[in-house]
Symmetry: C2
Subunit: 343 residues, 2 copies
Amino acid sequence: MGRGGDATGVTISEVAAAAGVSRQTVSNVLKAPERVAPETAARVRRAIDELGYRPNRAAQNLRQRTSRCIGLKMVSPSGVSDLFDRFLHALTEAAGAAGYHVLLFGAAGDELTTSEDLIRTGTVDALVLVDVEVGDPRLPWFTRRGIPFVCFGRPRGQARGRFWWADVDGAHGVARAVDHLVARGHRRVAYLGWPPGNGFGDDRRAGWEEAVRRHGLDAADLVAGSAEDVAAAAAAARTLLAGSEPPTAFACGSDTFAVGARLAGGIGPDGWPNLDVVGFDDSPAVMLMSPPMSSVRQPLDEVARRVVGLLIDRLSGAETPREGVMLRPDLVIREWRGPEPVH
Amino acid sequence: MGRGGDATGVTISEVAAAAGVSRQTVSNVLKAPERVAPETAARVRRAIDELGYRPNRAAQNLRQRTSRCIGLKMVSPSGVSDLFDRFLHALTEAAGAAGYHVLLFGAAGDELTTSEDLIRTGTVDALVLVDVEVGDPRLPWFTRRGIPFVCFGRPRGQARGRFWWADVDGAHGVARAVDHLVARGHRRVAYLGWPPGNGFGDDRRAGWEEAVRRHGLDAADLVAGSAEDVAAAAAAARTLLAGSEPPTAFACGSDTFAVGARLAGGIGPDGWPNLDVVGFDDSPAVMLMSPPMSSVRQPLDEVARRVVGLLIDRLSGAETPREGVMLRPDLVIREWRGPEPVH
DNA sequence: GTCGCCGGTTTGATCGTTCAAATTGTCACC
DNA sequence: GGTGACAATTTGAACGATCAAACCGGCGAC
């Protein structure tokens, strides 16, 4: 380090002067070491260390016409799932590993124009979109304006092949949940999630349908939709439980639904919940339930890595084909007691 | 807008040419309109709109030697409280309102050198520190190197007057919780939180002590410390409840402790929890509890605004006195039933 | 002996903006 | 008519890095 004290100031020219070479040679030492004679490089490197030189980011950005930043719109923390939070964490790490930073921007003002501004001013190189909705207007809007972006969440309601995205196979996750419940001896496994029409809600419910059919279960009357809050979910679950042949287990579209389902099932005389319930998202709130609850966990680290990877491909200019990546979630099993596995 | 299509490219010179003036005049229209004749300004503004000009951020940063970014280290999402998440949200908004962006960086590598790098390269102008610990080494380290920063959380174990910070008065919050419980008729109000030695843990417990003394309650044996996880908290609460004169209510150091306490109290024959419990942080996980739980809420929006305010003062160069700001939390009351208020 | 080549290094230009100083035009005042 | 004051605008020079092209000394080939 050497200097310490002031937080600004050492330029490449000062390093060059100290090492008795030109600016370009210093630059080469850092960017293309093979072009520099070993002992020159050593001399330059010493000067860099002694002066504590760090290349100025703004100058690099200006010259290279990049910011090495990706923009992400902050979404309001909502509900029990801290999915955005965890994705943000994963994205920060993945971006950092690739030499990028994540730049957050707020919800104030219009997202479309704010985003365009960030791109046009060169503040960020690209955007990451989360919470992609059915027929999301941002996708065509950004595409039309040549704004590079990658989605977490497959585009629905528009041609997928036109965009870059990474997503988690919710249907697969719920199907694994049903498999697990069936293996524990359940024959009447209900599904509780969003009403039809919600993008990933439909996806997850389709997973339940597939699994139920595959296992030859009769469950036509065991599906319910409701708003995603605990009270509404509990009410919907109670309706299913009041039927003539009530379910003994629930696979749910989210942890919030799952908490509601368990609440509706109540506690048995043995002190344990009456229902086997599997949630989706593996949010911290379910970990602290007692007894703990199994849940489908999205591979957010992998999603973030893929998103960053796609983004870098996209920015590299190479006319890479637009592509989507589908990842499989895990089922995190947290047992307590209940029906024994059947085999 | 006009062009659309390409996301890059219109420079101030092109605007100047289009409007028939010099670059500097265009710059003045945007930065110092009073120096420009009205009809010239109008002509320039029209050219700006037609070409869709947006000033290049890297060029501005380079010339002005600022980035208008503040750096924040991402901390791992942990536990039930999404406090960092919410603070981040508030900070993004507050920074945005002041013309700054929040740049996240990951935990990979050493925080100290990573942070210094961000400053030295001019990637960020200043840092925001959260989770400030007792005798936090970052404070003197950054100060010695002239790295501007503002803390969320008062510095403990070092002279406070030497730093800029904003914090929430945890003692006040817990005292309000105790007041509330006493008003509901409780005379034996316990405290459950971190063991002594934890910075804000001690602060919050001190609030309980003050309130208990002020109300003339006898509660010397009603304080317990444990690790911050539900199971450990429940165990600690059970120990208190097993005493000869068990508490009838708990004020807690965090929502996690509060969930543990309520769990330990169990459900009464009437189907309601046996204990009155007040948490701290008002995390979403407590909102979804049934019945809901009261909790002390930190004024994060205000904290974020103050942090940004201090930061701007700090960066403005004016030798403003270093100062700390202490804010008061609110008690969010979520009633269900239980002892009637006594008045 | 001249030429071309090559690794290693330097020079000049450039990215797009803003600062500071210079320039022009207009008018009032002596 | 000359001078100073002033408003409006322009010019030149940074800011710190990198790209592209030029340069230079030494060596082998013809």
